[in-house]
């Protein structure tokens, strides 16, 4: 089985006479060139698809550029949309490093956001805004961590497949949120849209100075950097990578693989829970059914495309944010259904995953005398 969790950069030092740096550059180039080739191929295939429908690919891509990145408004739109994507993608990336494919980011986002809104109810009006927001964030993170942690624990303790269990937990988490939001925690002054009580303008996370984007983007970027450092420069990260590459060898080495699995699952849930907190505190101001916005699922894509590397997730998330942001413009100008963006995403995902098979095939990137990657 292929291991998609191979990180950018060498895992083990290459023992060779050739210069370390030039070898690393060649290998690194492979990691960038092949995804770019894949993106180009999927762009090509999608253009063929559009042509077959009588639509102009040139117009489509120019609208994507315009609606996603072309104007100051579009760029900020894109960046705002990519903030939750960064965090939900991290929620997939971290478990992937330890060999798990967990797709429960959506559920953790929803239940984390809900918990944050719920804890705000007794605090709003009584505690100062900053304190409240910090408590909300911690609550959202903790609840999200426990939620996905369940899936990790089930995998460790009973061998339950974590992909399916994390997805089931998503549906269950959404049901729990709906139950409380429409029932006991419902804000009765708002009869038409069941929500928790709004936290109010004064308590909301503001926008970064000079921009129209809230602080969630900064938080996501910092989180990505922090996790990258954790995974590549600490003992814990090293243990995770070994466990992810070969669990049996890791066990033989005395690593507690089970503990690593649960911890990684909890980190994943924490990331998604943080995304949920920002959705509530920076955008909606309350918890309601609008939390279920599909960020978790798009995050899966982003993580895979970034090959589960936290730093690479940032540009990929921005790219996706841009594609989604331009979707509205494409819909209006080209009279294409909004599912067009879905097709593009699915196609890109497929082509990029298929391109995995190209690694190690091109002699250009292979440096003679060094061991080949398996």
């Amino acid at each position: 089985m292929a291991d998609v969790s191979e990180p950018l950069g060498a895992v083990l030092p290459i023992l060779d006479a050739k210069s370390d740096l030039s070898v690393r550059v060649r290998r690194g180039a492979e990691y960038i060139a092949i995804p770019l080739i894949a993106l180009a191929v999927s762009g090509l295939l999608f253009s063929v698809f559009l042509l077959a429908l009588g639509k102009s690919p040139a117009e489509f891509f120019s609208l994507v550029e315009r609606g996603g990145f072309g104007t100051a408004f579009s760029l900020q739109n894109t960046l705002q949309r990519s903030a939750p994507l960064i965090m939900t993608a991290l929620a997939v990336a971290v478990p992937a490093r330890v060999g798990l494919i967990m797709i429960g980011g959506e559920g953790a986002l929803v239940i984390g956001g809900f918990a944050a809104a719920a804890i705000a109810i007794p605090l709003v009006g009584r505690a100062p805004p900053l304190t409240t927001l910090i408590i909300m964030a911690i609550t959202g993170v903790a609840v999200g961590a426990c939620w996905v942690g369940i899936a990790g624990f089930l995998r460790y303790a009973r061998g339950v497949n974590e992909t399916i269990s994390s997805l089931l937990l998503t549906y269950i988490g959404i049901a729990i949120m709906n139950f409380f939001v429409e029932g006991s925690l419902r804000d009765l002054t708002n009869p038409n849209k069941p929500s928790t009580k709004p936290i109010g303008e004064a308590y909301m996370v503001g926008k970064m100075p000079g921009t129209d984007i809230h602080w969630g983007l900064a938080a996501g970027v910092l989180l990505a950097i922090a996790l990258q450092i954790l995974l590549s420069r600490t003992t814990f990260g090293f243990a995770v990578r070994i466990a992810g590459g070969n669990p049996r060898a890791a066990l033989a080495q005395g690593l507690s693989v089970g503990k690593l699995i649960v911890i990684c699952a909890m980190i994943a849930g924490a990331c998604a829970g943080l995304a949920g907190f920002f959705e509530v505190a920076a955008i909606q101001g309350r918890a309601n059914a609008s939390l279920v916005a599909g960020y978790g699922f798009t995050g899966i894509l982003v993580s895979f495309l970034a090959r589960h590397n936290p730093i690479a997730i940032i540009p990929v998330a921005i790219l996706f944010g841009g594609i989604v942001a331009s979707g509205g413009l494409v819909q209006r100008r080209m009279d294409l259904p909004d599912a067009t963006v879905l097709v593009l995403q699915g196609l890109t995902f497929l082509v990029l995953l298929t391109s995995e098979t190209l690694y190690g095939r091109f002699s250009f990137f292979r440096v003679s005398g060094t061991e080949d990657r398996t």
Partner: protein, 306 residues
């Protein structure tokens, strides 16, 4: 004519089991075959949706719902073949490809399906096992669609084939040990490719049931994770086709509980009843994972249980 609440709920649950189980059944059987050969196809959710759309569109254009069923199977087989082909390339992760196919299949279905949300297409008919009772409620509960009968037939055929035929043995060997299969001269890739394609065909037919019979309409909210639950179903059924049928009936019944209880006045907490199938699946997975019997039944090459 009203009856005792318990009877109403029981009838609703039985009716639900028979109605709602068929798509689960087909997808589970398709996935069972695929997994027996050693591959996991998580993309069946997308196949289900695309099958539903193709069935509805074909039925609308040709006037024949059964042609629609065939078209759905064809679409499913195509997606299955894509999955099978891509996954045999080295270094490709079949779980990730499954998720990608799910997105792709759903995207294509929504994209082309836009034109079919409004129009009405000819639907599949049904016959009632309970017509002789003269009681309209029992008659409705026991409404059987031919696809359900076909599904059970396919399950029986598969079970028999796995145990008694050469083809069954080939598939099982490929799933249990690729090395052994190669030693026997079997092309592991080809067997898995065919198994995934046929699995996709069955899943597509399951989707046709959704759009051409129950609920009998096409729109974007048609599937709510049924394809993925079916994968869990197969684990629960320990890769036995006949048990897949029983598990599908159980899930159909679970899905009918929510509205049934509300209709007799038990109206509190309907969100949880509506989440019942998901909770049930999770509990089942926890219970059956790690159990000795399950461990014995797992195809050795399956990546999700490694």
């Amino acid at each position: 004519m009203s009856q005792a609440p318990a009877v109403i709920v029981l009838l609703a649950v039985i009716g639900g089991a028979l109605r709602v189980s068929t798509p689960f059944m087909f997808v589970a059987l398709g996935e069972c075959l695929t997994e027996k050969s050693g591959r996991v196809n998580l993309g069946l959710e997308g196949t289900l949706v695309l099958g539903a759309m193709c069935a509805y569109a074909t039925s609308f254009h040709t006037g024949s719902p059964w042609l629609g069923v065939l078209a759905a199977g064809g679409a499913g087989a195509t997606l299955g073949a894509m999955h099978g082909y891509i996954c045999k390339l080295p270094r490709v992760n079949d779980i990730a490809i499954g998720i990608a196919m799910m997105l792709f299949g759903t995207g294509i279905a929504f994209f082309f399906g836009k034109a079919y949300i409004q129009p009405s297409a000819p639907r599949l008919g049904s016959f009632s096992l309970g017509a002789w009772t003269g009681n309209s409620q029992i008659a409705t509960a026991l409404q059987i669609n031919p696809l359900l009968v076909i599904g059970v037939g396919v399950a029986a055929l598969m079970a028999w084939a796995f145990a008694n035929t050469r083809w069954g043995l080939i598939v099982r060997t490929t799933g249990d040990s690729a090395a052994a299969a190669r030693a026997m001269g079997i092309s592991v890739d080809l067997v898995r490719f065919l198994a995934t394609t046929i699995g996709g065909f069955l899943a597509g037919v399951g989707g046709a049931f959704l759009s051409l019979y129950y609920p009998g309409s096409w729109n974007q909210g048609l599937s709510s994770g049924q394809g993925l639950m079916a994968v869990a179903l197969v684990i629960f059924a320990r890769w036995n086709p006949l048990r897949c049928v029983l598990a599908a009936l159980l899930f159909g019944a679970a899905g009918a509980i929510g509205p049934a209880l509300q209709s007799v006045g038990i109206t509190q907490g309907y969100y949880f009843f509506n989440a019942a199938p998901y909770i049930l699946t999770l509990l089942i997975m926890v219970a059956s994972a790690g159990s000795k019997q399950a461990m014995r039944a797992v195809p050795g090459e399956l990546s999700i249980t490694k």
